[in-house]
Symmetry: C2
Subunit: 283 residues, 2 copies
């Protein structure tokens, strides 16, 4: 999917909601365990219940890998299920990979390639610590995106990302250096950034560094964060925001009404997103 197509999708659905498929098998409704693949059944139900409200779905790899082959199988089936909506959803593998060039090339193939062994996601999250050659192999796929970790939303953010750097005699925080340097590796048409919503006030400054790039904003819902503030500080002329909610949607109810509950949570967020898109005259 191109950046323009993503923007068209946002306008069509009046939403920039991403549903995080962080499907913890121990938290899904008990009756689903009667199925052969309970997590897949749950994912399908969540997707069906929110497909008109969400523009993106983002399985976090840890929830699948931790179940070994069975989990990897669930992931493959889930992305295949999403592919039936090919032009209607943007798919993100939240994998946070990164290795030396040759090895990153294989991770890129895994998540982005449309060859038989590739999962054919539209985007994959990548960790920046190892630098340019660890990121560039992910940029070689047409109309696909690297979503590079910039400023994350967890407490550990302060350990390294927020440290002050001396770079070309000017002073920057590490995450600002990451945003600045990495722009030379790609463009807004093949890169996005993860920016934690718990620091929404910092979005204004981040937008000065990356005015055009889409930002993936975690931290709405279970991790806290304020949607309106995110929009005021982060929205650009093509929306430029993908806001993720995971647990607050998928585990809105632990009972048999999980689909309706997830849908209701997604509606609440979509309505506010429609409101914000309207205020920014993007609809």
């Amino acid at each position: 999917m191109t950046r323009q197509e993503l923007f068209e999708l946002i306008k069509k659905k009046k939403s920039f909601l991403c549903v995080g498929l962080d499907t913890d098998i121990s938290k899904i409704p008990p009756h689903l365990h009667d199925y052969n693949d309970p997590v897949y059944e749950f994912n399908k139900d969540i997707i069906d219940a929110t497909i008109d409200l969400a523009i993106a779905y983002k399985p976090n790899l840890a929830f699948y890998e931790s179940r070994g082959i069975a989990g990897w199988n669930t992931l493959e089936k889930t992305i295949r299920y999403l592919h039936q909506y090919k032009k209607d959803v943007f798919t993100i593998a939240d994998a946070k990979r990164g290795d030396i060039g040759n090895t990153s090339k294989l991770y890129a193939q895994t998540f982005l390639s449309d060859a038989p062994t590739g999962l054919d996601f539209d985007a994959v999250t990548v960790a920046p610590y190892m630098g340019s050659d660890s990121v560039k192999p992910f940029l070689g796929y047409n109309n696909k995106f690297v979503i590079l970790l910039g400023l994350t939303s967890n407490e550990g953010t302060n350990d390294f990302q927020m440290l002050d750097f001396i770079d070309n005699k000017s002073q920057n925080k590490l995450y600002e250096v990451v945003l600045k340097k990495s722009q030379a590796w790609g463009s807004p048409d093949n890169m996005m950034y993860v920016v934690g919503a718990t620091k929404a006030s910092m979005l204004k400054d981040i937008r000065k560094i990356v005015p055009e790039h889409f930002l993936l904003i975690p931290g709405i819902g279970a991790q806290g964060g304020d949607l309106r503030e995110v929009c005021v500080n982060g929205m650009n002329s093509k929306c430029g925001l993908i806001v993720n909610a995971s647990r607050s949607i998928i585990f809105a109810s632990k009972g048999k009404d999980y689909e309706q509950a997830a849908r209701q949570e997604a509606i609440n967020l979509q309505k506010e997103m429609e409101n914000q898109l309207g205020q920014f005259k993007l609809l």
Copy 2:
């Protein structure tokens, strides 16, 4: 395996060699493709050919993930095969994972747990960018290790790891800050660091920061690097070094003599390691 047991293993085998099982299916000898799982056959053969010479084996996850379910299956069979040598090898999942606390917990389970769905490696490589809560969940396993990325051996090292930081009014490079801060999260008994051998001259300074920790040194062999220089600058009273070679051993020959060729490469490295251990009076 404890740190002391690892040191005893090093003395017994007179080696601190780790064989990187970066098994690229396109590079293994053609006749192995007659088997149901060619990569597993190759890994078994390489392990059998080097088991008396190597103290550790390190599959890099990208080479397995990139083959989807089939690759994950190969990985599970390979680690199970290594478990028959349980006290005689140290196993490392080179996964470079890292996510917010709750999610890292699942990655830790995946690679370190001895429960049925865990792979029960002795150690896993972890990326530091997301900070303390992304690393700590990996530290909660008895006699297992986090191997945190410190200074890597690729060209992208210069992008962030080598930048100068202002931290508590003193100036440090990012990788030095990572080494210093992360020491508070664990101890030499549950943490190690990746330190790229292409910067062996910097090992001397790194040893001042982390005198006791084991260091995993990639970059011997295909990536260049000088074993003697690594030892002079990096060895401590419990050896403190695990030196990895991947392609230079496993793909020493592309023909049917791949086992003998791998063994010969491993012998060459082991002999030099025995020599160095002797010089440091550790044997």
